[in-house]
Amino acid sequence: MELVQMQKSLQDYTKSLFLEGVLDSQFLQLQQLQDESNPDFVSQVVTLFFQDSDRILNDLSLSLDQQVVDFKKVDPHVHQLKGSSSSIGAQRVKNACVVFRTFCEQQNVEGCHRCLQQVKQEYYLVKNRLETLFKLEQQIVASGGVIPAMELGF
């Protein structure tokens, strides 16, 4: 694929993520932090986010599977996930966490289970999308191109 096309694809793809609400402006902030001295900053941070989130989701599953759910343990996890997802711009994950927390407050086990599923769903979605995005970027870079700056015109 021609470089220009790849770049265009990347831009379109990224735009779609924003339009779908999978990502929000915080992601742009991350992208702006990336520069020559730190060319992989975004992917590094996102990778870190994935690792951490995997762990949290695991802990959450375990906690919710207990006979007696300890919401005092569940809530901090969700809170942290909310914080980290919002920090990288994973908007839908964050929103799912917000809902999750309200069920935690209500100590609604059933509701929490559903929320966990929802969070996981959103998480895997954004993970998938971002991995695709990074692949596109890598292809561009491998072809000698430059990753186009995100335009905020949409």
Partner: protein, 647 residues
């Protein structure tokens, strides 16, 4: 990262003053090089923050554990200019870290969290955070954090130094400049900051109450001169920042105990300590923080209760050394007010000033200084008496008066005004319905309502915790009420109908054990220094803080924290002091649960604070901030409302 930057970042606050010793070049570079310590257990956020801060040209040290951060700070007291910390961390509550940093290092601390609920934000304010950022944090928010460093330094510099100081020459000049600037700053405080927190408005006022560290640091700064520990060059003018080592602190505590917490004045403490090079300002600021700690420990309860009871009931000089002015309500808070005392108090009712007086000294023998009903009904005549209470009266004076064998009516009334203790007893003995009605009282309600809220659930024995441990929903109310109460006092007892609703609610929500400790401390704090409270916005602030903190506690196993802390606190004052001495250590231990413990400490400290009055403005500001909700409407706050606090 932790190298002392020659004046870079650190202590450059007065960049505009340009008088930093040899800091010309630094001034130009400022704020780059600002040394930031960022603490967050979330690795993603930590990395992002680090990158953002580096992009702002700050020097960043990141840390994912609060304990590690503290030890870093301790090892390198002057190695950082500002700390940014997350609120929710597994090993230590962010607010506790905030307290420690404020007390030990006196650095500006910015709190941040994904939690944007007002209660938590307010907690940040009352704990002395210079700002509160909501995650996700944006670059713009971080770009301006240097202003907090500057502000703090300027405030400190502008404080007139009365004691020795090698840096007189230098600091004087700077100080003048700072003062001018500060004045200008104070005037234009609103424009001054980029940070959203309204707390920063009115530097002068804010300094006093915003955070103990702020005010104390301000004074201390004067004394100590430039706090550019890293700048060796300095001039001989630079006074080293006082480091409150364990020994020094113990000396301090011993002196305070000797004088009696309420009576402990910086000057006397200084004399007793007899430490060369220590200034009154150093002691004053430390005392302020210490009081906050004690308050939080809530240890006042047992000790105070006993004394309170005595003082109130018997009208004798409070046997307790610490809070002679604790009124019945406080006693209740402490949970030690005997039922009968309470009954007496209640019996006397508030309708008569006499009612305020406890048995021996008080007519009607009822310590319940304020009959809930009467209080609420706002007996004007009574209130007038209160009005008559010398507002200018120093807490000490009051304590003295009170101690003379029972409180005079005025005192009682004042105590009633303080609202703390009065309510309590009533709540305890009265049935719920009564309490609800009593809630009417605006002045006292702040405290009382809180207390009642808590005590209602319980038998008379528990009252103390009530005030503090308000369930979150009510916590806000209570704090508001409290603040309102204070503000009211300052405003000559405006009749406000505090959200009585909250009181009943509080009552039901009260958690027996947890609140007890908290309450005790808070109560104690209030009663003893009822006047202080009235006239000291700072106190109010602390009280509010404790209240706020308590309210927020329940999110985090408050009861556990409280009960555990209570146990600790239930020791005598000495013990408390010991705990205090153990300083942060015990603090941590006690408050393993985080939030809860921190609250307790606060209450303790606040209880003993009676030095600082004249903070009406701050009080108002603080109250306003907390005055959100129903109470707000009642009070004519003109400054901040919680909604205005940008986070």
């Amino acid at each position: 990262m932790m190298n002392p930057l020659n004046g870079r970042g650190g202590g450059l606050g007065g960049s505009s003053s340009g008088k930093n010793q040899g800091g010309e070049s630094v001034v130009e570079m400022f704020p780059s090089g600002l040394r930031v310590l960022v603490v967050d257990d979330d690795p993603t956020c930590l990395v992002i923050l680090e990158k953002m801060l580096r992009t702002c040209l700050y020097e960043v040290t990141k840390c994912n554990r609060a304990e590690m951060a503290l030890s870093l700070l301790r090892k390198n007291k002057h190695g950082f200019d500002i700390v940014i910390s997350d609120v929710h961390m597994p090993d230590m509550d962010g607010f506790k870290l905030l307290e420690h940093v404020g007390l030990e290092m006196d650095l500006p601390v910015i709190m941040m969290s994904a939690d944007d609920s007002k209660s938590v934000v307010l907690k940040g304010v009352t704990h002395g955070a210079v700002d509160y950022l909501i995650k996700p944090v944006r670059m713009e928010a971080l770009k301006n954090i240097w202003q907090h460093v500057v502000r703090k330094r300027r405030i400190e510099w502008s404080m007139p130094t009365t004691t020795h100081s090698g840096s007189v020459e230098e600091t004087t000049g700077e100080r003048q400049q700072q003062q001018q600037q500060q004045q200008r700053e104070a005037v234009s405080a609103d424009d001054d900051d980029n940070n959203s927190s309204s707390v920063n408005e009115g530097n002068n006022n804010n300094n006093n109450w915003r955070s103990s560290s702020g005010s104390s640091s301000r004074k201390r700064k004067d004394e100590e001169g430039e706090e550019q520990g890293d700048e060796e060059d300095a001039s001989n003018l630079k006074k080293p920042r006082v480091v409150w080592s364990v020994e020094l602190h113990q000396q301090f505590v011993a002196a305070v105990n000797q004088l009696g917490v309420e009576k402990a004045v910086p000057k006397k403490i200084l004399e007793l300590m007899n430490v060369p090079g220590l200034t009154r300002e150093n002691v004053a600021s430390h005392l302020q923080k210490y009081r906050i700690y004690l308050r939080r420990l809530g240890g006042v309860s047992q000790h105070h209760q006993g004394s309170l009871n005595n003082s109130f009931m018997t009208g004798q000089d409070a046997s307790f050394g610490s809070l002679p002015t604790l009124n019945a309500f406080d006693l209740q808070a402490l949970g030690q007010l005997p039922a009968q005392s309470l009954a007496q108090l209640q019996a006397s009712g508030l309708t008569r000033p006499a009612a305020l007086v406890s048995k021996p000294g008080f007519p009607g023998g009822s310590t319940t200084i304020v009959d809930e009903r009467s209080i609420f009904s706002f007996d004007n005549s009574k209130m007038n008496l209160l009005h008559g209470v010398p507002t200018g009266m120093e807490p000490r004076q009051l304590a003295g008066l009170q101690q003379q064998h029972g409180m005079t009516i005025q005192q009682q009334i004042a105590a009633v005004r303080a609202g703390h203790s009065l309510r309590r007893p009533q709540q305890q003995t009265f049935s719920r319905p009564q309490q609800s009605s009593s809630i009417r009282q605006p002045m006292l309600p702040n405290r009382v309502s809180e207390i009642s809220g808590f005590s209602s659930g319980r038998s008379s024995s528990i009252p103390e915790s009530s005030s503090r441990v308000l369930p979150t929903s009510y916590a806000n109310l209570s704090t508001q009420q409290q603040s309102l109460a204070f503000s009211n006092f300052q405003q000559e007892l405006p009749v406000n109908s505090f959200p009585l609703a909250s009181a009943p609610g509080l009552l039901s929500l009260r958690k027996p054990h947890s609140s007890a400790s908290e309450v005790n401390s808070s109560e104690a704090g209030f009663t003893t220094s009822s006047y202080d409270m009235l006239f000291s916005s700072r106190q109010n602030d602390w009280d509010l803080r404790s209240m706020l903190s308590s309210s927020h506690q329940d999110a985090f196993s408050n009861s556990e924290a409280y009960s555990s802390s209570r146990n600790n606190n239930n020791t005598s004052r000495n013990q408390q002091q010991q705990q205090q001495q153990q300083g942060m250590v015990s603090h941590h231990q006690v408050y393993g649960n985080g939030g809860g413990s921190s609250l307790k400490v606060k209450s303790e400290t606040m209880a003993f604070h009676e030095q600082y009055s004249n903070q009406e403005d701050l009080m108002s500001a603080l109250l306003k901030q907390e005055g959100i909700g129903p109470v707000d409407t009642e009070f004519d706050f003109d400054a901040y409302s919680i909604d205005d606090i940008p986070v």
